[in-house]
Amino acid sequence: MNDAKNDSQTNKEEIISIQENIDLLNSKLKRKNLEFSVIQILSNEIITSLDLDRIFQIAMESLDKYFGFSHSLILLKNSGSDFLKVYASHGYCGQGIGATVKTGEGVIGVVAKRKKMMRSSGMGYRKIYVQSIQKSMDRDQVVIPMPGLQNVNCQLAIPLIVKDELIGVYAIESEEFNAFAAIDEQILMIVGNQIGSAISNARAYKEIEELKNSLEEKVIDRTKKLENQKKEIQSLNQFIKSLNEKMDLSEISSKILKYVKEHFGIQHYSLYTVDPSGDTISPIYIHYPEKISNNDRLEFESLKIPIKNVKGANALAIQSQKPWYFKRIKKIGITKEELFAIERLNMKSFLMIPLFLQGKPVGILNFWNDEEMSLKKEDITRLSIFSEQLAGIIYSSQLFDQVEREKEKSDHLLLNILPHSIATELKETNQVKPQHIKSASVLFTDFVGFTQISEDLSPEELIKELDGCFSQFDEISKHNNLEKLKTIGDAYMCAGGLPIPNDSHPIDICLAALEFRSFMNQMSEIKKALNLPFWELRIGIHTGSVTAGVIGTEKFSYDIWGDTVNIASRMESSGEPGRINISKETFQRVNKLFQCESRGLVKAKGKGDIEMYYLERILPEFSQDKEGLVPNQDFFLS
């Protein structure tokens, strides 16, 4: 009986122990499942997100949910800096953002320095231990403040690494001991890698966005490029000029011939240059024998002798970079083009000198006779030196063509940013004299609610919108004989009556202003129908004297200065959305053609009271349409 009782007791114990084992395994399994869920969530959510704040939020919240990371910080390292800065925090009620940690200091700093994960406990107690030794050594007590919890007992810091480069640290804290002991180290490293890649993706995206974002920067960049190109061309021009002043290719050719005839008894020579592709050479000069048909001459003009990957005399000379002298020509080891030349030019004996410049083949010089030449070794050396000098000139003449082409390109670009007459002046004299213009009209526009809408739109959409409007404004300015001057953020500035003075500028500018407004009205109607946000435009115009010119040597642009510009800007800011605010000066010059509404004296910031008018439309008797936008024949006759 007793035995049976004992047996059942033993069985019971065994069952309990097995059950305990099962429980243990189950909890391990649960843990693993949790860990993989976290990784999955991070993969799905943060790797695909391009918004840094969202990445931080999701990462920190899901890690809190699954691992109980109730207090965590994400610190990022700015490249080139020795400090890490807290960019996001979780569990500290938003506190701590902006705090910094120096690389190498504290748990976070050491993890950043070594790019290795670290867990630590009881740092508070250990600090006391270090400080007591510090005291016993009679050293000054230094306490470097660290962001995070005050009574931290357990810390875990994971380096965020992308391509072996540390970009930040993910730091987790707890007031409990052993808070992170059970979490697998590899899982934490994967988490770190994922956050790191997500941050780096988002940063790269942001950079691209920022680049796109700045229209202004684009313009500066283009101007700079243009400026550099101009400088390069100028220096090349000078270089070529100095060479060309001394020598002219046809003059040189006859000099060469005279020289070689007198000194070496050479009757003919030809000069080939390497084509831009570098695969063939073409003749630029051939001193033909007397008996040659016009047909043959024509064929020579379009002759191209291959010099790459062929068995030929020219190819050989270029490859070996040495002169080749054939006392008696044998028609072997040559290309069919060379055979053609030998036969038609009646070459019996020739010397071939390859021309090199800075190690690059630029051409080949051929001396030949219709009978055997007898050249000595020193003759060949002398001819080689002579040819070397020639190489420079050939190169520069080729360069000259290239420069001409580049110049055309740069002229085109120049015209894009400067008015035609100014561009011409700048090109010809390398400077532009400032010009005082007695009467010009200046127009400013500004989008109302731009800041509001720019917050709602993505940078891409914003640029697209602005670009759309400004392109249209450019078009309107152009056909109204106005000069677009610049855009400043969302403001647009153009003027009439310059750089070549005219009398019609106040009228031109009013017509353009009406078109601007009409365009914006159409736009907002479309937007309204689509239930999209739209911009309204304020327009201001003033007429008066200005100084115009190009300033700067690095980044030049045609601009105007003077009080007229300031007043025009004030006219814009003192107006209302959807209206065109013009000054008395402009009004007096256009009131016979346009319908305006007097506003009386209006206070303008920094300018006191100014008499202002709203420009409404073209007077009905002078307009073709109901809205008073298009002038009729009488408009121009009056």
Partner: protein
């Protein structure tokens, strides 16, 4: 012997550990260690910074006695150890070095607290102390 997992909380360094050693003449010395590391299931590691007496003793007598305290339960553990070898590089060394560097740099003591070596000890015996140290009622 295999180190029981139960001891791990006592090895997190929250409460400084003590290491008792003796010279060949049997003169004892007790040093305070900032942390005792779990190296593997049979070995513990102690950082060698500047405890010169302990180092000198260990050269003469490999045996030592470590006491660690669990910071949550206040249970002490008594561990008999024997020096196996020293490490001056590798994963274990670097882990210990990072801990030391982190704490020392917060006090501006990184020049003093330099890890010289990691002493790796074989564990000979482990005894769990009484769950005591409660304040009298």
């Amino acid at each position: 012997m295999i180190i029981p997992k139960e001891i791990l909380p006592a090895l997190n360094g929250a409460i400084p550990a003590t290491l008792a050693t003796a010279s060949k003449d049997g003169i004892p010395n007790v040093g305070v260690m900032s942390q005792v590391f779990y190296a593997n299931e049979k070995q513990l590691a102690i950082s060698h910074q500047f405890f010169s007496k302990t180092s000198a003793n260990l050269k003469e007598n490999l045996r030592g006695h470590v006491q660690v305290i669990d910071p949550i339960t206040a249970v002490p553990w008594f561990i008999e150890v024997e020096l196996d070898h020293e490490e001056t590089s590798g994963d274990l060394f670097e882990q210990m070095e990072m801990q030391l560097e982190a704490i020392a740099s917060m006090c501006g003591m990184e020049d003093v607290f330099k890890l010289q070596a990691a002493y790796v000890f074989n564990v000979i015996s482990i005894r769990k102390g009484d769950e005591v140290l409660r304040a009298p009622e």
